[in-house]
Symmetry: C2
């Protein structure tokens, strides 16, 4: 861990008294329950994982919803399904706690990515247990009998084992563990199980509006999704980048031409596109579009401090990705994720490989993806790209160019702007609703807790919570980073399921703020 500048450390000191006994009790409760019931927890989890869960599979998605409703009802939560035409149900739950000063809402999604069985070693919805990860040479083993010890390095392979049913099992087990040890909740608890996150949750906003009275009293949303840091260290994230995109089609001759008959005469769209794209970045990968970085909101000193504490894994990441130099040279991944990005996500013109022909294609197309950070407006960022294109001498059209336009301009580009972009959502790390969470989690994890100001990816749920509900939220991560999320042979490491259980127990029983020290460190 990096040394912390002492003045920052001092600025960061706040409030009254460290509250580790409460967290310790919760963790002990979870460990004791896991020690006794490990085998039956895995058995119950296998049942949860055995139902196919793609959002478009309307019959199975309801079977998932019904099972979740049943499992939490059986543990004393008041459950119901929130419906909206065309959407899988949201499974909603609540547990009122007399005298509680705040209401926590755990967001989890129960739908999963599509799974192509032909790519999987085992059937994606027939969970199997391994003694370690397949890529580590793991072997298939039987699920344990009651009382049999459970190794934390075991892995369950199944679709959604990590993304995102692991938090469902962690919550169920934490509830059982707290009850078993007689530890009460310190907050009202709400549960929100989304059934279409992998399809970008198109109805969540409407459902939150339709059932708004259920959500008005929430103090803090806890988004339990995504993996912990690549080192395996516990992790909290405070937002995600925004996203938008733009497609550019440039024009050569009005029809594909024989490259012999016209080569060296007819403009080559692939060449023109290369010229345009190469004007957008310098050789170090920094964007050269005027104003591209101007609206970026600077991060706070507190965030800078947390960023300086992130483990240095740059070499490891570069080896994993097979790259000698990242874009931006002197910055690491986590610094780079705090800037907007411009990515050539696709290129197409004529054909390559065996399909290549001796032609001058009529068009060449590039798909540009933009990720946005706090301060970047999606529309204005696309405006900057357009202004840059014009400065390079291009004539922009928004539909196929007419013959007249073709005869007038040498460089013509058809611009298609993404209409569904959304801005970044990031909560200040020192937001008053967030600091207690950091403090409670750190009391459990110790100083190895990694605090990342923002994910690189874009999370529609963050946007809805921050922009529509005007509520604070934080991303709580529990699963192993090598879980093959979205791909074949998805898995969860049992140790991470246990870590998640302990973390859920800590969060459900965390003391009211007035009883604890909040250190802004």
């Amino acid at each position: 861990m990096k040394k912390i500048p002492s003045q920052l450390f001092l600025i960061g000191l706040l409030f009254i008294q460290l509250a580790s006994p409460a967290q310790q009790k919760a963790v002990e409760a979870a460990r004791s329950w896991i020690g006794k019931e490990g085998a039956s927890i895995l058995k119950e989890y296998a049942e949860v994982l055995s139902i196919p869960n793609h959002a478009s599979d309307s019959i199975n998605i309801r079977r998932n919803a019904d099972l979740i409703q049943k499992l939490f009802s059986g543990r004393g939560f008041s459950m119901k399904q929130l419906t909206f035409p065309g959407s899988p149900p949201v499974v909603y739950g609540e547990k009122k706690v007399p005298g509680a000063q705040r209401t926590l809402c755990f967001y989890v999604h129960y739908d999963g990515q599509p799974a192509d069985p032909s790519l999987w070693k085992h059937q994606p919805f027939e969970p199997v247990l391994y003694d370690k990860a397949m890529y580590q040479g793991g072997q298939k083993i039987s699920f344990p009998q009651k009382g049999q010890a459970v190794d934390p390095n075991w892995r369950i392979y199944a679709r959604s084992a990590s993304d995102d049913k692991a938090p469902i099992m962690a919550l169920l087990t934490a509830i059982d563990a707290l009850k078993d040890s007689g530890i009460g909740y310190t907050s009202n608890i709400k549960l929100f199980f989304d059934g279409e996150e992998e399809s970008s949750s198109p109805h969540v906003s409407s459902i939150l509006r339709k059932y708004h009275e259920l959500f008005d009293d929430i103090s803090l949303w806890l988004l339990v999704d995504g993996p912990v840091f690549q080192t395996g260290d516990p992790t909290l994230k405070f937002g995600g980048r925004g996203v938008t995109s733009m497609e550019l089609t440039v024009f050569g001759p009005s029809r594909p031409l024989h490259s012999g008959h016209y080569g060296n005469y007819a403009p080559v769209p692939g060449q023109l596109l290369a010229e345009l794209l190469s004007s957008m970045k310098d050789r170090d990968g920094n964007v050269t579009i005027e104003g591209f970085y101007n609206s970026v909101e600077p991060i706070s000193e507190f965030e800078k401090l947390q960023l300086s504490r992130v483990p240095d894994i740059d070499r490891k990441i570069r080896e994993d990705l097979g790259i000698a130099d990242p874009e931006g040279k002197d910055e690491n991944l986590f610094q780079r994720l705090l800037l907007p990005s411009l990515t050539v996500q696709g290129l197409s013109s004529g054909n390559v490989g065996k399909q290549a022909r001796n032609v001058i294609p009529a068009t060449a197309t590039a798909n540009l993806g933009l990720r946005l950070v706090k301060g970047n407006d999606p529309e204005k960022m696309l405006d900057l790209v357009e202004a840059h294109i014009q400065k390079q001498g291009w004539h922009i059209v928004y539909e196929e160019p007419t013959e007249e336009i073709r005869m007038k301009y040498t460089r013509i580009v058809l611009v298609e702007r993404d209409k569904d972009g959304f801005p970044a959502s990031k909560i200040a790390m020192d937001h008053p609703a967030i600091l207690p969470v950091i403090e409670n989690v750190r009391a459990f994890t110790g100083e190895k807790l990694v605090l990342l100001p923002s994910e690189g990816g874009s999370n529609n749920i963050f946007t809805v919570i921050f922009d529509q509900l005007k509520k604070p939220g934080i991303s709580v991560n529990i699963v192993n980073h090598d879980n093959n999320q979205h791909a074949e042979n998805e898995n969860v490491r049992i140790g991470n399921l246990w870590y998640g259980t302990e973390l859920m127990a800590v969060l459900m029983s965390m003391p009211a703020e007035k009883n604890m020290v909040i250190k802004k460190r």
Copy 2:
């Protein structure tokens, strides 16, 4: 027509006496025969066009060969089929002429491009007659009865109507016409009907070697293929460009990455490829690769003179192609075809359009096509491209980069060089075997004859004739330029079939050089 600088005109004067009476007799013979037999010529041509003729259709391709053999045998030519394993037969013919001082060989191909009937208005091998071109609003009409007048603006629609069965019919008709008028041949005549030209004639070189004793005595090859000038003016061409290609694949991360999680960090292959390609040309489309134009052999003063006489159709071409400015700005198409070209024939990385995803692709690929002119060696030109790539700071590999190479170099490109490239083939316009042809054709066509130093395209047959046989050759064009060659609704204008007949008659009966004036004008 452009004014000819008088000093060039004077330099160009050569030899003895203008020989127009011979050409005039031949043309009159052709016209008289066509006037009497037009209807039966079209009927016979429809029969020739009714046999499917893709080189891979081994049964039908032999039916074509047999028919050609029969038609020329019936007109007194000694015919046979030259065979080679895996190749359609070459139909070979000869007519020895006592006392002839030279041997002309007419090259024609009888195979055609594939034809997808679903795209055609009529079945491609069921020839139909139109009163003018479809795109001019033409209507289908019945084939004429014997004695009925034939309009030169009529068109026959069928696969290979222009490319390249029209010369077969022109030759047959010219033979009939000369016989009918009692005009004898002035040269020994040989015929070479290729059956796989549209598949790049892969066996022609071997067949010429196998049967070399048939070809040793040829004085001049006349390649009768391809359309006349865009204005419809009669045309001779003196060679073609060479061709080669290169595929470049540049590398980003070792696997496609989520553009959120790594965007702004992982190098983007499409961006790197754009940077590389844009370094290869300036904004006017001129190639900036060092040495790219150095080996170009300058054209002769005589060729410059001919080039200056080519009708100015630049505006018409640009309107047809829908382009405001061609590459190279101040030069016309025919000047540009005398330089080597570099064309981005294909681009591919990730996906665009509806398939676009939020990814950083692992690779980006460009296919580069090069057309070469006299002086350019295919291998050396590819070497220049590679040297340029290295000068831009790239590490070149010839197979997938290893992890070690990935960790060592920021910019890595996999280069795949075309192994089947061949150099340009162009004969000097004032070659002693060529000037008489120009002079005889011009005596028939008048001053509107367009002489093009080189086609833009590449012709393997030219290469074989020049480089393997060491013989002179020239491209003689007869069909209309708007013939939809290689596409659906291919057609021939009847007037061009008649022009071709007249031209074949002129060539077969052109006086021995000693009797004519050769003006190098």
